[in-house]
């Protein structure tokens, strides 16, 4: 059975998209069939695939609103993706009357479960319908948390939502773990927040993955629309990313 993993934190710029792309890349390197789904209205993931979001004739919007079969696109890094564009931002109003709206993404992904080992969903940074759709469709959530107060606040807001989705919409949803991101070991604030993450989540037996540092090469790689390992395979963060991907492979 394939794993559907949503990368979610409702705070913005927690490195969700960066992680989605990099983890997809490393999973694909391990010969897994991987599909990335862009559910963010900013369509960052789609833009990183080297194509302008407006060039796609069908996007995730058509899939969710008109219930059309999803068109899959491939990229240079051996994983496929379903694109988004800014039209997605109108979805909430359009679907407001539909009773099954929270389940649309889950239904749309059903045909792909056999084909793909991993479906990675890049969630939007809010608690709206799109996020709920992601969590209803997912088997696991992975939470990137920036090692700052903003990241911690995001995690605090995330927890009741997670609980609520489990109670009301998706009993089987699991918390696969948290990934501390943008960590700068020279700053005491970051150290303190990393400690908070470890203390809080380890106690609840939720895996805390190796912290991903704040490196300029992430931005350089982004600039060239490449995963970090494709930009600089010897970069120190590549190992951490590989480790996280390995943990996902071992996920039950």
């Amino acid at each position: 059975m394939s794993h559907i993993i949503g990368l979610f934190n409702q705070a913005s710029s927690q490195a969700k998209t960066t992680l989605t792309i990099n983890l997809c890349y490393h999973l694909a390197q391990q010969k897994k069939k991987v599909l990335a789904v862009d559910m963010d209205t900013h369509a960052w993931l789609t833009k990183q695939m080297n194509v302008s979001p407006d060039e796609f004739k069908t996007t995730i919007y058509d899939v969710l609103v008109n219930q059309e079969p999803a068109s899959i696109f491939s990229n240079d890094y051996q994983f496929d993706f379903i694109p988004a564009n800014k039209q997605l931002s109108t979805l909430e109003a359009v679907l407001a009357q539909e009773n099954d709206r929270q389940f649309r993404l889950k239904k749309a992904l059903m045909p792909f479960l056999k084909e793909y080992d991993y479906i990675m969903i890049d969630c939007p940074p809010n608690l709206g319908l799109l996020s709920v759709m992601c969590m209803v469709a997912a088997t696991h959530v992975l939470v990137p948390i920036e090692t700052t107060e903003k990241g911690i606040q995001g995690a605090k807001d995330f927890l009741p939502t997670f609980q609520n989705v489990r109670q009301n919409l998706n009993k089987k949803l699991k918390l696969a773990g948290v990934i501390p991101t943008k960590y700068d070991g020279r700053r005491s604030h970051h150290k303190l927040k990393l400690e908070t993450i470890h203390k809080s989540f380890s106690k609840a037996k939720i895996p805390v993955y190796p912290a991903i540092g704040l490196y300029t090469d992430f931005e350089n790689a982004w600039d060239e629309a490449k995963p970090l390992a494709a930009y600089n395979s010897k970069h120190i963060a590549v190992n951490s990313l590989k480790k996280i991907a390995q943990e996902l492979v071992d996920l039950k």
Binding site: N99, Q102, P160, Q163, N164, V165, N168, S200, K203, A204
Partner: protein, 254 residues
């Protein structure tokens, strides 16, 4: 004296993640409306209306094709307030077509509308809800009705003026149940051209046309009066001339 610089080291916070992994104490709802699991919906002991089996089967059939259009209404303790037939239809569907049911209601969650009271404490409110729910459903626009009809036709429902043959499923009776409107209203919805209001040819209201309209109305009234009663030969004579007169009148109006 200069203020002393704070040197106390801050302690790492504990987010109490444990609290959120199992029990749910929060009353919040997430975006996108509420759902509950089918088993969690409880029937009320004093459930009022008896269920009609044919109605349940018809509803089950329509839910299979169109989904649940109207959410089921429950109180804060998940006791059924309105939608007994829908609930029975869902249970029937789950039993007879489990795969389709799972497709339609993943994870067994049913769309509901929760009324903010406890039916045991305020039983009179329950009756109000039930009545309101059965009297006043959501209104469908002609476009929506047409769209539903299209989906039903695709699923094998036939639209013919005759009695359906055995095994055949008739469109209009199904729509009657789904949207809760009379046969006549449904036919009207389906016959409007662009789904909008009925097209009315523009008429310029001059005093002359107004008078003509009034005469026409009165004559039609007269015709009805004559037709029912035993009428005198004179009246009969007049009655015979009415259609021709109306025709001439129509021609002038145009």
């Amino acid at each position: 004296m200069p203020a002393k610089r704070k040197t106390t080291k801050k302690e790492a916070e504990d987010l109490n993640v444990d609290n959120y992994l199992f029990e749910n104490n929060s009353e919040d709802t997430v975006a996108g409306g509420k759902t509950v699991s089918l088993e969690d919906i409880q029937l009320r002991e004093d459930n009022t209306r008896p269920l009609n089996e044919d109605h349940i089967l018809e509803l089950a059939e329509s839910i299979k094709i169109l989904g649940l259009l109207q959410p089921i209404v429950i109180d804060i303790k998940s006791r059924l307030l309105a939608g007994g037939h829908r609930l029975a239809a869902l249970e029937y569907l789950k039993e007879t077509s489990p795969q389709e049911f799972e497709q339609m209601f993943p994870n067994d969650f049913i769309p509901i509308r929760e009324m903010p009271f406890d039916v045991e404490e305020q039983p009179e409110l329950a009756l109000q809800v039930e009545v309101a729910e059965n009297e006043k459903r959501r209104d469908y626009t002609p476009q929506e009705v047409k769209h539903l009809a299209q989906k039903l036709k695709e699923a094998g429902y036939t639209d013919s003026p005759h009695r359906p043959k055995k095994g055949e499923k008739a469109l209009v009776p199904a729509l009657k149940i789904i949207i809760g409107k009379s046969r006549r209203s449904i036919m009207r919805y389906l016959s409007t051209d662009d789904g909008g209001e009925k097209s009315v040819p523009p008429v310029t209201l001059t005093p002359e046309t107004k008078t003509l309209q009034r005469i026409e109305k009165d004559i039609l009234k007269l015709k009805q009066m004559f037709a029912g009663e035993e009428s005198t030969p004179e009246e009969q004579k007049l009655l015979k001339k009415i259609p021709a007169f109306l025709k001439a009148l129509e021609a002038v109006k145009k």
